[in-house]
């Protein structure tokens, strides 16, 4: 994992820096994939900017991925994989959330496709999404206890 200064040359990064420099917590470039680490307070606003900002047009949200870094804090990591169909460009956004308060603003109002992705992450990781229209379990039964994809949840299930 490298965090280099020539990432600043990337036009998308430059635009984000211009728009709200305090939103960016870091830049990651790995195997030609660029990821912007964002502070969670700015995620919703940045999502709006990425979709409708000048010459950005990241209209297509491919996927939202949850990840648990337990026992490292902040333990949860969400990755948003964005595509711009008109510019044939991709970028990733990442937010880190603490285990004590795993809450982040929902991006459903920006990309409606996030609806099920966020529900799945809520279901399997227990991360809550503020402003989600229908935040309930998606894959597991409603009365399921625990969040299976957390690292402190054993593969065989809880004992």
């Amino acid at each position: 994992m490298t965090e280099t200064s020539d990432l600043e040359q990337n036009p998308t990064i430059a635009k984000i820096r211009n728009w709200r420099p305090e939103a960016v917590a870091g830049l990651i470039s790995f195997r030609d994939e660029l990821t912007v680490v964002v502070y969670r307070e700015h995620l919703r606003a940045l999502a709006d900017f990425m979709k409708s900002g000048p010459d950005l047009a990241f209209t297509y949200l491919s996927d939202v991925t949850g990840m648990d870094r337990f026992p490292i804090e902040p333990r949860f990591e969400l990755n948003y994989h964005l595509l711009s169909l008109s510019r044939r460009d991709r970028i990733g956004l990442r937010v880190r959330l603490s285990g004590e308060d795993p809450v982040v603003d929902s991006v459903v109002s920006v990309w409606p496709t996030a609806n099920w992705h966020e529900r799945e992450i809520f279901d399997l990781f227990g991360v809550r999404f503020e402003g989600h229209p229908n935040l309930k379990r998606l894959l597991l039964p409603d009365d399921w206890e625990g969040f299976p994809l957390r690292k402190d949840y054993p593969v065989e299930g809880p004992r």
Binding site: M1, F30, R31, E33, T35, T59, Y60, L61, S62, D63, T65, G66, M67, D68, N79, H81, L85, R88, R90, G92, W111, P112, T113, N115, W116, L124, R137, L138, L139, L140, P141, P148, L149, V155
Partner: protein, 398 residues
């Protein structure tokens, strides 16, 4: 069909529970339909009946072992799943796969696409009352399964693509079998089209049904033929080429109408394009050459070498006891599966097991569009709409 406006209170509606055991849901999908007479007021999609925790299971397996569970997600296109996963791990490792293996991968995934579209066409047709197409499609698919069995030993759970290349050298004469398909299939496709394309019942059941416009489709993340039937030409093979797809000449069929009929035409045209790719691949594949990358410690050594070289034997032992450890980092690899953008996200922490593997299943995302497609429409059209999305519950629930 025109949208019917409904203005009735909840006391006049009825909730109909469709599925999970219902043949036209293509698996175990449950849809709660709130009905006003025959008009759907609200559709609530309930999934998860086939959830087996594949992503959690992968965290307990080594990188090579996890290939086997990728087969079981989209069971109509196991090779596409293998490909997405292998490409992701190869990206993580920075591993280059020999051209010969890349072309064979392209050839087999395109045959998979045809096979998957045949199942879709057959089941979609039977949902809408055309029985014979179903039988024909399964007859042709059998030929494809025979080829998969020939190269990998398995009809469905192939696990034929491995990290760094292919599992084994395809047997002699397999290209002949592929050429057989190239010869016979075009006329078979004509046969289906004769039965359906201008069939009045088929037109009545599909035209103007399950409408989805381009903006909604993009906002909902729809991909694959379901998106291209709405006039967006997004195809991963063209937008972000992988596995040497940029060396192949093919078109991406796009239709503007956004209804079930448009998606039907897209998929049928896609099968013909896939045959075109297969034909080019047959010409491109060199008769001899490596099918695995030269990467000791990651790709198992050749049998012959293990009998003569001690290092090879040690590597072999270590690969299968410990596995190999890619550098720490995260990658997201997308491919065009028969259903759309199939993404594989892998996070490595530098250990021999994937720290996190996430599959972005195209059916999972496409199914979200169902509510939009059926609300205000007839129940019978809901069947057509589920069919046209070409969902596989195995990859939706994972």
């Amino acid at each position: 069909m025109t949208t019917v406006q409904t203005a009735v209170g909840p006391e006049q509606t009825m909730v109909l529970n469709m599925g999970p055991q219902h043949p036209s849901t293509h698996g175990v999908l449950r849809v709660l339909l709130e009905l006003d007479g025959e008009i759907i007021v609200k559709a609530d999609v309930d999934i998860g009946y086939l959830h087996t925790g594949i992503e959690k299971t992968a965290e307990a397996l080594t990188y090579s072992q996890a290939i086997t569970i990728t087969d079981r997600m989209d069971y109509l296109a196991p090779l596409s799943n293998n490909l997405a996963y292998c490409l992701a791990v190869e990206k993580l490792l920075g591993l280059e796969v020999p051209k010969r293996a890349q072309y064979i991968r392209v050839l087999l995934t395109e045959l998979t696409r045809i096979g998957s579209h045949l199942i879709w066409l057959g089941t979609h047709a039977i949902d809408l009352g055309a029985m014979s197409v179903f039988l024909y499609c399964f007859r042709e698919r059998e030929e494809l399964l025979k080829i998969f069995e020939l190269v990998s030993g398995q009809r469905m759970m192939t696990s034929y693509f491995r990290i760094g290349g292919l599992a084994l050298e395809p047997p002699l004469g397999w290209i002949g079998r592929v050429q057989n398909i190239l010869r016979t299939f075009p006329s078979r496709f004509d046969e289906y089209e004769e039965l359906l394309t201008k069939n009045r019942i088929w037109l009545a059941r599909t035209q103007g049904v399950g409408l989805l416009n381009a903006d909604d489709a993009i906002a909902l993340g729809v991909s694959g033929p379901s998106l291209r039937g709405s006039g967006v030409d997004y195809d991963v093979r063209k937008y972000f080429p992988y596995s040497s797809y940029d060396e192949f000449d093919f078109k991406v069929p796009v239709r503007k109408e956004g209804d079930c009929y448009a998606r039907y035409l897209c998929r049928v045209a896609e099968m013909r394009e896939s045959l075109k790719i297969v034909r080019q691949a047959v010409e491109k594949i060199p008769p001899e050459g490596p099918i695995k990358a030269d990467a000791p410690g990651i790709v198992p050594p050749q049998r012959e070498k293990m009998k003569t070289e001690m290092e090879a034997l040690i590597y072999h032992f270590k690969i299968f006891t410990e596995g190999f450890a890619p550098p720490a980092g995260e990658v997201y690899q997308r491919i065009e599966s028969p259903r759309g953008e199939l993404g594989c996200f892998i996070a490595s922490d530098g250990s021999p097991k994937p720290y996190r593997m996430k599959i972005r299943a195209p059916s999972f995302v496409n199914l979200q569009a169902l509510e939009k497609m059926v609300e205000g429409k007839l129940v019978a059209d809901a069947i057509a709409s589920i069919g046209t999305l070409d969902i596989v519950l195995g990859e939706i629930d994972r």
